[in-house]
């Protein structure tokens, strides 16, 4: 299995996997589990060489710099390099499963749509051909599933609803599921609560639970993951979440 971080430093994924900074090259962390972080410049160079068949010598010089400039103005190109790297790993025979830690809900759309945008924007050229298979892989439910992770609060719920409406319109992924994280369990409390911390904590829990259910009723999740209390290391959090996911 390959776990990869699509954007940023990849530190969040690294600490949850209990390892140091991730390398842009797939590294085996323990038997069967590999990880990498996508480095945009490196991914661009790989993309130009392997997908665009640009000679290696040109991928670090002016052409790569020119591409960077286009990417700044037309991010679909920058994003296709990132999503292209993910999908290239999916196509690779080395992995049974590739799990990508994506950008926030509000930003994922431009990555998922990058191939389609390129197809619309670029009528010809190798980049348009490559965008075709990427688009197909994303839309194939046997190959790709999008897990939209949310928490049962107003803003994340609204943002998730907006993403779902957008996905319904754009039809860019074949399969998706909603995962609600940090969900509180019910608490059976007596009619009269004692004064002091125990009563106050119960009141807070009941009120938060009720608030969370309002949002979960509005946006039902395919999977609910529990709120984890207290000081835990990221690796412990990952282990607990993995157990809960497996049990579900």
């Amino acid at each position: 299995m390959l776990a990869l971080s699509m954007v940023g430093s990849g530190d969040g994924l690294a600490t949850h996997l209990g390892t140091g900074p991730l390398s842009p090259v797939a590294t085996e962390l323990r038997p069967g589990l590999w990880a990498l972080r996508i480095d945009r410049a490196r991914a661009l160079s790989e993309y130009l060489q392997s997908q665009m068949r640009v000679p290696a010598v040109a991928t670090f010089g002016p052409v790569a710099r020119a591409f960077d400039a286009f990417a700044a103005a037309a991010p679909a190109i920058r994003e296709i390099v990132v999503i292209g790297k993910v999908l290239w790993e999916v196509r690779h025979d080395s992995w049974d499963i590739v799990v990508a830690d994506g950008p926030p809900t509000g930003q994922i759309g431009s990555y998922l749509r990058a191939a389609k945008t390129i197809e619309e924007l670029v009528p010809a050229g190798r980049i348009a051909e490559q965008a075709g298979w990427m688009d197909e892989t994303l839309r194939d439910p046997d190959h790709t599933s999008l897990a939209v992770v949310t928490i049962p609060e107003e803003l994340p719920t609204v943002e998730t609803e907006e993403l779902l409406a957008w996905l319904a319109r754009e039809q860019v992924v074949g399969h998706r599921q909603i995962v609600a994280n940090r969900v509180l369990g019910p608490l059976d409390v007596p009619a009269t609560l004692p004064a002091g911390p125990a009563g106050d904590a119960a009141r807070l829990h009941v009120a938060l639970y009720r608030e969370q259910r309002t949002w979960l009723d509005r946006l039902p999740a395919d999977l609910e993951l529990p709120y984890l209390f207290g000081l835990l290391t990221p690796a412990e959090v990952a282990a607990r979440i993995a157990d809960a996911w497996e049990a579900a």
């Binding site: 020119a66 591409f67 400039a69 103005a73 991010p75 190798r126 609204v158 608490l187 911390p197 807070l204």
Partner: protein
């Protein structure tokens, strides 16, 4: 009228908009002529403010000193192009498919538009205090770096190289220097597209002087503004908060304070659950562990970044009116002193 600006920043989902509104209510009720500018308030906050906000400042309820407005971050590049390019170049830019991609997707453009709008309100000198709820894009720090990002894009070294210097016969230079190299890119992108891109950059380049001047004005204003960073004691928002303390001093003033929202009482940490019936005792243990975790993270933050700190108690339900917003600030520890020091 001398105007103070208080920028309320932080990652998404930490209650930043609510706290910006709450600070506005408290300041206004102290007799300070206050404008709250917000990005896209959650529906329930809009309900609490008692109005649907527009992009023009409007008075709130019966409050004599309180106004609110929404930042229009959608105007972005089309406005920039029309303001700073000559009319023909602006028309070409707006019609260029690459321009469309840029307006909708260049991450800094919305933050730039929001910063420009916020500065316009500060510049109007119609309020004593302008409280700005900054957009959460890229953790919110984008709001401060966007003017430079835009200037770099339209005046960057690469763009100058691709479009030639600012000299007569620039096109000639471009044809002789950049084009041969870009021919390789042409096989990848198609030559028709390459022409569109080249035209896009040539036209974009004409906005440089105007953009640079305006971006500088915006940067100067942001540098003069006070900033508070809102976070919760959770890993992702804390990572965003740390960025403000590390990176903001490069482009603006160091934040005045960090505000920890959704704070649990520290008195729960050592509360004795013995004698308490189940399930209340177990519930108290869980929340006490959570209160302890929050306290540890706050202490760690304080030890790393020597800054003022305010804590706002965890409210299970969001405020429903202006009085509730005011109560949120009154129930906090350390928030009012930060506010009055900023305003005075």
């Amino acid at each position: 009228m001398s105007t103070r600006a208080l920028l309320v920043t932080g990652g998404g989902g930490v209650g930043k908009t609510t706290l910006a509104a709450a600070i506005g209510v408290v300041a206004a009720r102290r007799g300070i002529r206050t404008l709250v500018v917000t990005v896209d308030p959650a529906r329930r906050l809009a309900d609490a403010l008692g109005t649907t906000l527009g992009t023009e400042p409007q008075p709130l309820g019966d409050e004599p000193n309180l106004w609110a407005a929404m930042l229009d971050a959608s105007a972005s590049w089309e406005a920039i192009a029309r303001r700073h390019a000559d009319p023909a170049a602006a028309e070409r830019l707006v019609a260029n498919p690459f321009f469309h991609a840029a307006t909708t997707q260049f991450p800094a453009s919305q933050s730039y538009a929001a910063a420009e709008e916020a500065v316009t309100f500060i510049d109007a000198r119609a309020w004593e205090l302008v409280v700005v709820d900054t957009p959460p894009a890229a953790g919110g720090i984008d709001f401060f770096t966007a003017p430079r990002a835009i200037t770099d894009l339209v005046g960057g070294r690469l763009l100058r190289w691709m479009t030639g210097g600012n000299l007569p016969g620039r096109r000639f230079f471009f044809d002789r220097t950049a084009r041969p190299v870009l021919r390789i890119a042409g096989t990848v992108l198609g030559t028709q597209l390459l022409d569109q891109i080249a035209q896009f950059f040539m036209d974009l380049r004409t906005t440089y002087d105007g953009v640079r001047r305006r971006a500088k004005e915006i940067e100067d204003h942001l540098r003069g503004a006070h900033t508070v960073v809102v976070t919760t004691a959770d890993p992702t928002p804390l990572r965003e908060a740390v960025r403000f303390f590390r990176e903001l001093p490069e482009v603006a003033r160091r934040p005045e304070a960090v505000i920890f929202n959704r704070t649990l009482p520290t008195s729960w940490i050592d509360a004795d659950p013995s004698g308490i019936p189940e399930p209340l005792a177990s519930n108290l243990r869980r929340w006490a562990a959570e209160a302890h975790r929050q306290q540890e993270l706050r202490a760690e933050f304080a030890s790393r970044y020597d800054t003022r700190m305010a804590v706002v108690p965890w409210q299970p339900e969001p405020p429903t009116d202006l009085d509730a917003l005011e109560r949120l600030v009154k129930a906090s520890e350390g928030l009012e002193p930060v506010l009055w020091d900023t305003v005075d």
